[in-house]
């Protein structure tokens, strides 16, 4: 009878098997931790990354709104009365002051003909940006400008033959003259001033007045 030797063999085999299972379990546990750990890091990375991107985008948007625009002119102490007679304004085009009791609709309208100053100034009082162009501006440039204005709330565009600069952007008490429609200041003006803080009458409408004429 070889019970002693075979029982030792069996014990040894059992031990080997246990050791093998133990190694397998340990290596499985290591693998599990590795998977869980990697997944956690990836998930956290995604959430944090999204948060950082969102914060940076907001900061960039805020910057676009408040950045100083080079050569922007501002005017103070403008009157705000309704008058029924034509007004002589110091600036061309005017930046504010007395105006007609009726405003020019400013829902992103590109007017083919000049708009009376007194009506446009009332639109400025309601928070609109008035984009005007001189006679010499090319059709192409005019179209590029029109594409920026068309349908944009609280803006209007019209020809203004009397002005000296090619392109002028005006908000109440605020004016910028540029040569080309792709001057980066054009987009910044259009981002900052429609319904902007310069608006004397926040909440006023750019929809057509009743019986619009």
């Amino acid at each position: 009878m070889t019970s002693g030797k075979s029982s030792r063999d069996r014990q040894s085999r059992i031990q080997q098997q246990r050791a093998l299972r133990e190694r397998q379990r340990r290596s499985e546990r290591r693998r599990n931790f590795a998977i869980v750990g990697t997944a956690t890091v990836v998930a956290l990375g995604l959430v944090i990354g999204a948060g950082l991107i969102a914060t940076r985008e907001q900061a960039a948007k805020d910057e676009l709104r408040t950045a100083d625009i080079a050569e922007l002119k501002t005017y103070e102490d403008l009157s705000q009365n309704h008058v029924a007679t034509p007004v002589t304004y110091p600036q061309t085009p005017p930046v504010g002051g007395d105006h007609a009791q009726v405003w020019a609709p400013c829902t992103g309208i590109v007017y083919p003909d000049p708009v009376p100053n007194e009506r446009a100034v009332h639109s400025l009082e309601h928070g609109a940006v008035w984009v005007t162009y001189a006679d010499g501006v090319t059709d192409k440039n005019r179209d590029v400008l029109a594409a920026k204005v068309k349908g944009k709330p609280y803006t209007l565009m019209s020809p203004h033959p009397e002005q000296s600069s090619p392109i002028v952007l005006t908000a109440w008490g605020t004016q910028l003259a540029v040569d080309e429609p792709d001057d980066p200041r054009v987009d910044r003006f259009l981002a900052q001033f429609p319904q902007g803080e310069q608006t004397p009458e926040p909440g006023a409408t750019c929809s057509p007045p009743p019986g619009a004429g």
Binding site: E28, R31, N32, I35, V36, A39, T40, A43, L44, L46, V47, I48, G51, S79, Q80, N81, H82, Q101, V102, E197, T199, P200, E201, P202, G203, A204, T205, S207, P209, P210, G211
Partner: protein
């Protein structure tokens, strides 16, 4: 539990905790330090001016129904749009400040009570039309309605200016100061326009 299930749970918990953390910082980091309280002048102004503006809108709709005078009509149209929108801004502030739009305090209590009226049946706020005045406007037509409207609205605007000046004396909050300042200037200019309209009509009579 399978290892896959464990992975999913850990990932979900981690993402959830991070999201809650980020949201908390965003929501409470700045907000709590800034919102005014329910008895503040800012909250009182927002509540009272929202009611005041609502009456201007009501009167403007009434005169547009009663008359087709183009001058009065466009003025009323402008008042409707501007004051209804500003009423929205005021209610929006209260919402942002997590305050109810109503309060038990009497009108203008936030201004130290000196602007309020001791007789609650009459003008509760500066310039507000009484119920009988509104009824008279509702029942009139044509020229009579226009005159009634202009007189009531001039008084209404004068009251609005008084309320806006009262909050300007009592707040440093930027957004409140901005709106109150535009109300003072804008309504003063509309008062001048309305007085001119009344005068022109009287001249036509002569």
């Amino acid at each position: 539990m399978s290892w896959l299930a464990r992975v999913m749970i850990v990932v979900a918990v981690a993402a959830g905790m991070t999201a809650v953390g980020v949201a908390s910082v965003a929501r409470w980091g700045d907000e709590a330090a800034r919102a005014p309280g329910s008895s503040s002048p800012e909250a009182g102004f927002a509540r009272d001016m929202a009611v005041h503006h609502a009456q201007a809108v009501e009167m403007s709709f009434l005169v547009r129904d009663a008359s087709d005078d183009p001058d009065v009509g466009v003025l009323a149209f402008d008042i409707i749009n501007t004051q209804a929108t500003q009423r929205g801004m005021l209610l929006g502030w209260l919402d942002q400040w997590d305050l109810p739009p109503n309060s038990d305090a009497p009108p203008m209590a936030w201004a130290g009570g000196e602007h309020g009226n001791t007789d609650p049946g009459e003008h509760a706020m500066p310039g507000m039309a009484t119920d009988s005045e509104i009824q008279r406007l509702r029942e009139s037509r044509g020229r009579e309605a226009e005159d009634e409207f202009l007189r009531l609205m001039i008084a209404h605007h004068e009251g609005g200016v008084e309320m806006a000046e009262a909050v300007l004396e009592r707040t440093r909050r930027e957004e409140v100061r901005r709106l109150a300042t535009t109300i003072v200037r804008g309504q003063q200019s509309e008062i001048a326009a309305m007085k001119a309209l009344l005068t022109r009509k009287e001249l036509v009579d002569q």
